[in-house]
């Protein structure tokens, strides 16, 4: 079959990102042709400032080299400007006569710098700041001339001014507004910024209106004259007063434009064969000039070009970071505030720190930070998610680490970390390695960084730090993905919640059925989504769904814990940590018979036999005659207990018996992640119940129930749920909370993550305040666990899983 033809006009970041996304989805659908008016392949435009400042070379900022185009069989026309679109015959023509037919046309023509319409703007030495050519012109001028004037005190203007000053020029920034970066900063933070830049040698003229540019005899600019009659010398004049979407080509072809090429939520223009992405478009009346929204557009556009037809672009909240070395500045959202908003303000003028958070009805809607921006990405994420911050409002200002959230309390900000400092303790990745990969390989997302460096790819506790490093390296190009819209994995556009809802509402009963109904993009998923789907199906329809062992991680398939040499460990169930001489004797016999190299008492008060060969597992289990302790699963691990009132002179409740009862009640249950309990018989809390998913503490008058504690990756003290009087109540409340977690948590979220997401108040509403809901949750868990068998029992073992083949 003949492939369709896709032609792209414009070879910049948004357009090429669209192609990359498209090639991921449908590598063979199109013959692709690209026209670029510049002589370079796709480069990282936001890194022009470091090039100008002499911190990087042009070769450092190339994102896709020529080999990339070759490898993907893309016909690339560099230095060719497309001047005409024949929409009727679907052909585009370049200036030099090159033509290309298309079935789909993608316009990614970007934007042009806006040149002030003042006399003298056509003089030599008057330039915009937009591409490599402009950057080179500035670098050349800096070598020859002395006086530079930058018109425009916005992001781009300040970066240009900083770069020119670093190259030895005497630089003055002229700005028409009363303070710098008025679209990103309020007056206080802008003043602090101005002082820092003045300390670096820049000069500022604010509220100055340009009258004209004066040239010398050779036609080169030599001075700038203002409306108030003053004048100052200028051998180089950079206009950085804004950008205008480049719509000339689209308009000449009769495509509807209104301050940008008008597109709908699928990035389609008024001509259905023609799509547009990037700075040239106007979407719902907004044209974007930062990179992050452009990448969102690219993803949506690729989805439609690949004929999947399920993505929508709904606009972006943007954030800004100034890439001037030594200046930390961050702003996002509606930082100016309105009458309906509240502000939380911190201003330490001497310390050079300024932070302003803007809230509307308990939601963060904007933030400006100067001097200390390490929590910028955290605030930005909350703005994008529209997260309700009522619970943390009183300490919101003190940042993420103050919440004990990152696992790196007291860590200095990512930008200030030395390159040699280890960020990811699991994979041994230091900051320098991450920064180098981001720059050299053109990484933009957390996922990219995980793939290339492995940082935060294992336990994930350094995710926040890695995101900070991304944010501080990329500046405005960094877009944390809103958690609310994060798809389950690369195989689908759907979120965990959407998938679970569909499974429940449509009564989906198998993985293939769910994948088909939800338009999975891969034939049988991946190692991320299949275990999650298997769990969601079993949780929703416990007695209808057939478990799929091939969609389980090996530990849950072999009912043992795989070790690094491929052997397994075996932990038999000992309810509440109580054992008998007869059990211990059998365990000892098994250890000797199978020459078990290591016998260990686990953290959860059980006995672990290490080094069992997979093929021996069934006979080990038979010899033990005990049931599985689920020490390998996303399941109830153990209920840790203290001695309690039966023996302990301090004990006020029988914690051991309570632990036994709970372990029987919750045995053989699958959960989104591992699930640990502890019961203490008095407030001395020897069973360490405060760091468990559910912790029960006996007091004189009954039991206190705590939830969502964690002693591992993210040390977090459990939160008080309720105090009850009787054993029956402990069971009912505990099982109800457990079922709520099973039904609503995302796969691989511990209770700490789940409760952080929904809030402890919500849990109390469901489990404590509403007796009917509690009883229904309790009943649903009892129903789900009906008839659950011991996976180590002979009748439940799939012999094929364990027996090797021989030649």
């Amino acid at each position: 079959m003949q492939k369709m033809k896709l032609v792209m006009v414009g070879n910049g970041m948004a357009g090429v990102r669209t192609l990359e996304e498209l090639l991921k989805l449908e590598p063979d659908l199109y013959d692709i042709t690209v026209f670029g008016s510049e002589p370079y392949p796709n480069y990282n435009r936001i890194m022009l400032s470091p090039v100008l400042a002499g911190e990087q070379g042009i070769e450092d900022i190339i994102l896709n080299d020529l080999d990339w185009y070759r490898e993907n069989l893309i016909t690339l026309h560099l230095n060719k400007k497309v001047v005409r679109i024949d929409r009727k015959n679907k052909v585009v023509y370049a200036e030099d006569g090159t033509e290309a037919e298309y079935d789909r046309l993608l316009l990614a023509t970007g934007s042009n710098p806006f040149m002030l319409p003042v006399p003298g703007k056509e003089l030599a030495g008057v330039i915009g700041y937009r591409d490599i050519q402009d950057t080179n012109a500035m670098i050349d001028a800096a070598a020859k001339y002395r006086h530079a004037v930058v018109i425009g005190g916005g992001l781009l203007g300040l970066e240009a001014a900083n770069g020119l000053a670093l190259r030895g020029m005497d630089v003055t920034v002229v700005h028409i507004m009363p303070w710098l970066m008025e679209r990103q900063l309020d007056q206080s933070s802008a003043r602090m910024l101005q002082r820092s830049l003045e300390a670096k040698g820049l000069k500022f003229l604010l509220q100055k209106n340009t009258q004209e540019l004066v040239g010398d005899a050779a036609g080169r600019v030599k001075a700038i004259r203002f409306k108030d009659g003053t004048e100052m010398p200028a051998d180089l004049l950079v206009m950085a007063v804004g950008i205008r979407p480049n719509t000339a080509l689209a308009e000449s072809a009769g495509i509807h434009c209104n301050k940008g090429i008008v597109v709908n939520d699928t990035m389609q223009t008024y001509d259905p064969s023609i799509y547009a992405v990037g700075e040239c478009v106007s979407h719902r009346g907004t044209a974007y000039g930062l990179v992050a929204p452009l990448f969102d557009m690219a993803k949506v556009c690729a989805n439609h070009l690949a004929r999947m037809g399920i993505a929508r672009y709904q606009g972006s909240v943007t954030s800004t970071k100034l890439k001037v070395t030594g200046i930390d500045l961050f702003s996002a959202g509606n930082f100016a505030g309105t009458e309906e908003t509240d502000e939380i303000l911190m201003h330490d003028a001497a310390g050079g720190v300024y932070k302003k958070l803007v809230l509307k009805e308990d939601k963060l809607v904007g933030a400006v930070m100067y001097g200390d921006t390490k929590d910028g990405s955290w605030y930005f994420q909350m703005i994008r998610d529209g997260k309700n911050v009522a619970d943390i409002r009183d300490h919101l200002m003190f940042g993420q680490s103050h919440l004990g959230n990152s696992g790196h309390q007291g860590q200095s900000s990512a930008a200030a970390m030395p390159d040699s400092m280890e960020v990811c303790g699991c994979n041994g990745v230091c900051k320098g390695t991450i920064v180098k990969s981001i720059k050299e390989k053109g990484l933009f997302t957390l996922e990219d960084v995980r793939k290339h460096t492995k940082a935060s790819a294992s336990c994930g506790s350094c995710t926040g730090l890695v995101e900070q490093i991304l944010a501080s390296t990329l500046g405005g190009a960094y877009a944390p993905q809103a958690a609310a819209v994060k798809p389950m994995c690369g195989c689908t556009e759907h979120t965990h919640e959407e998938v679970r809802r569909a499974i429940r509402m449509e009564k989906l009963l198998s993985i293939p059925q769910a994948m088909q109904f939800l338009n999975w993009s891969t034939p049988n998923g991946c190692a991320t989504c299949r275990p999650a789907l298997n769990y969601y199906l079993l949780c929703a329809w416990p007695h209808e769904v057939q478990d799929d062992p091939q969609s389980r991680f090996i530990n849950e398939r072999a009912h043992g814990n795989i070790q690094k040499d491929g052997t397994f460990s075996v932990v038999p169930r000992m309810h509440g940590g109580i054992t008998t001489p007869a059990q211990l004797r059998r365990i000892a016999d098994v250890a000797e018979k199978y020459k078990v190299p290591t016998v260990k008492v686990t953290g959860g008060q059980r006995i672990d036999l290490f080094g069992i060969k997979k093929e021996d597992l069934p006979s080990v289990w038979a010899d033990l005659g005990m049931s599985s302790g689920y020490a390998y699963g996303k399941a109830l691990r153990t209920v840790k207990t203290c001695v309690g009132s039966e023996w302990c002179r301090f004990g006020v409740q029988d914690s051991t018996q309570m632990g036994i009862d709970l372990e029987y009640a919750l045995d053989r249950m699958w959960t989104p992640h591992k699930f640990k309990l502890a019961v203490s018989g008095c407030p001395r809390n020897c069973a360490e119940a405060a760091i468990k998913d559910v912790g029960i503490i006996g007091v004189e008058s009954g039991w206190e129930i705590y939830v969502a504690g964690n002693g591992g990756i993210k040390t977090e003290v459990a939160q008080f749920l309720v105090k009850v009087k009787t054993r029956e109540e402990v069971l009912e409340y505990t099982l109800a909370f457990t079922q709520l977690y099973r039904e609503e948590a995302r796969y691989l979220d511990r209770t700490v993550h789940y409760v952080e997401r929904v809030g402890i108040d919500y849990i109390k509403q469901q489990v404590v305040d509403d007796a009917d809901k509690r009883k229904a949750l309790h009943q649903r868990l009892l129903y789900a666990l009906q008839g659950a068998g011991n996976p180590w029992a002979k009748e439940n073992i799939n012999a094929r899983e364990f027996a090797p083949l021989t030649i």
Partner: protein, 104 residues
Amino acid sequence: MNNWKHVATLEEIPPLGSRVVQSAQGDIALFRTAENEVFALLDKCPHKGGHLSQGIVFGKKVACPMHNWHINLADGNAVAPDAGCARAYPVKLERGQVYLLIAE
């Protein structure tokens, strides 16, 4: 010399699953895809020696159970950006019987 050796029937390998063949050259993992194609790799991840036979099979790849490297079943190459290769063995499927080309 190399010979085609009968090692299993297709039915003995679960779809999207694997079986281990013990051989003189070490353990070899047999994989079966959803489309009933069969592949054979040395049961050793090029990363840290994880047992690929114990991983989750999806598409024509397997995810190593140790550190989640993705290995292409057809040639044993790790999926980029990871780099490495597990030895692949020629395998053929005839009338439901699986044969492995392997040195005596």
